[in-house]
């Protein structure tokens, strides 16, 4: 658990909307550009770190109960995404860091992964 305000400081984030919700407690970290993965494996209450900035990112966050989205590598949400995020009360933040760096920082500060580690690697043919 970590308040969103701490994530904001650790990743030197810019806040695009819902600044009043920065006291929200975040339970897990989730890093993915693949929305199907988020829908399949993420738990309620995670922060989503992603390089994917389109309206599907916001819908996916709302549907899977992501508590905040951090866009990595300087990606910026457009007006429409911000509008949808405000109505759904999902804070949108942005960092200049890469997905790898941003995830590594939160992981090293003890934020747990939203996805369970698979027992084995299986190969799709």
């Amino acid at each position: 658990m970590m308040p969103l305000s701490e994530i904001c400081d650790l990743l030197s984030c810019k806040v695009f909307c819902c600044e009043e919700l920065l006291d929200r407690e975040i339970k897990y970290g989730c890093a993915s550009d693949l929305m199907s993965d988020v829908l399949a494996y993420s738990r309620s209450g995670a922060v989503l770190l992603t390089g994917l900035a389109n309206v599907q990112t916001i819908h996916t966050a709302f549907i899977s109960e992501i508590y905040a989205v951090v866009f990595v590598r300087g990606r910026v949400p457009d007006e429409r995404m911000i509008e949808v995020a405000i109505t759904k009360k999902i804070p949108l933040l942005g960092t200049a860091l890469s997905l790898y760096e941003a995830s590594g920082i939160l992981y090293s500060k003890g934020l747990a992964s939203t996805m369970e580690t698979l027992a084995t690697v299986t190969r799709h043919e």
């Binding site: 309620s44 994917l52 996916t60």
Partner: protein, 141 residues
């Protein structure tokens, strides 16, 4: 509390800018009905992956949300190319998505398996050249 409710929505294929909107509406309706949040989340995920499939692969569809005190039922009936081999499309990783669809964060072949995972009962029927019909049932208790 009276939890009976029915509503029909229409989705048009290829309309990527609105893709997902109906499932967010469905989620808000279920929340307002006071249904348990884990159940709402499962239904919303199944609905959203179905809606994305309509937008990506079909021409248009009707989505019916039907709630009674025991079960939530979602029927997604599309007019589209249909699915020739259902067993194959249900496999994790099978996908015919284009690069444009992948850019939206979908198209990894995980939609249908995840719809099934989140349903208590799931049926899929398809007529090649006509369309596909999904029935998703989630028990409330």
């Amino acid at each position: 509390m009276n939890k009976s409710f029915t509503q029909t929505f229409t989705v048009s294929g290829n309309n990527f800018s609105d893709a997902g909107k109906i499932s967010t509406e469905i989620k808000m309706i279920l929340k307002q009905l006071g249904i348990n949040s884990d159940i709402v989340r499962r239904v919303a995920i199944a609905s959203y992956e179905s809606e994305m499939n309509v937008v990506m692969y079909a021409c248009k569809a009707k989505i019916v949300l039907d709630v009674d005190p025991e079960v939530i039922k979602i029927i997604v009936e599309d007019e589209g190319p249909g699915i020739p081999d259902i067993e194959l499309t249900m496999k994790e990783g099978y996908s015919t998505a284009t690069p444009e669809m992948r850019e939206l964060g979908f198209g990894a072949g995980m939609g249908l398996p995840n719809i099934k995972k989140n349903s208590d009962e799931f049926t899929i029927k398809s007529d090649v050249g006509k369309g596909t019909r999904l029935e998703i049932i989630v028990y409330i208790n």
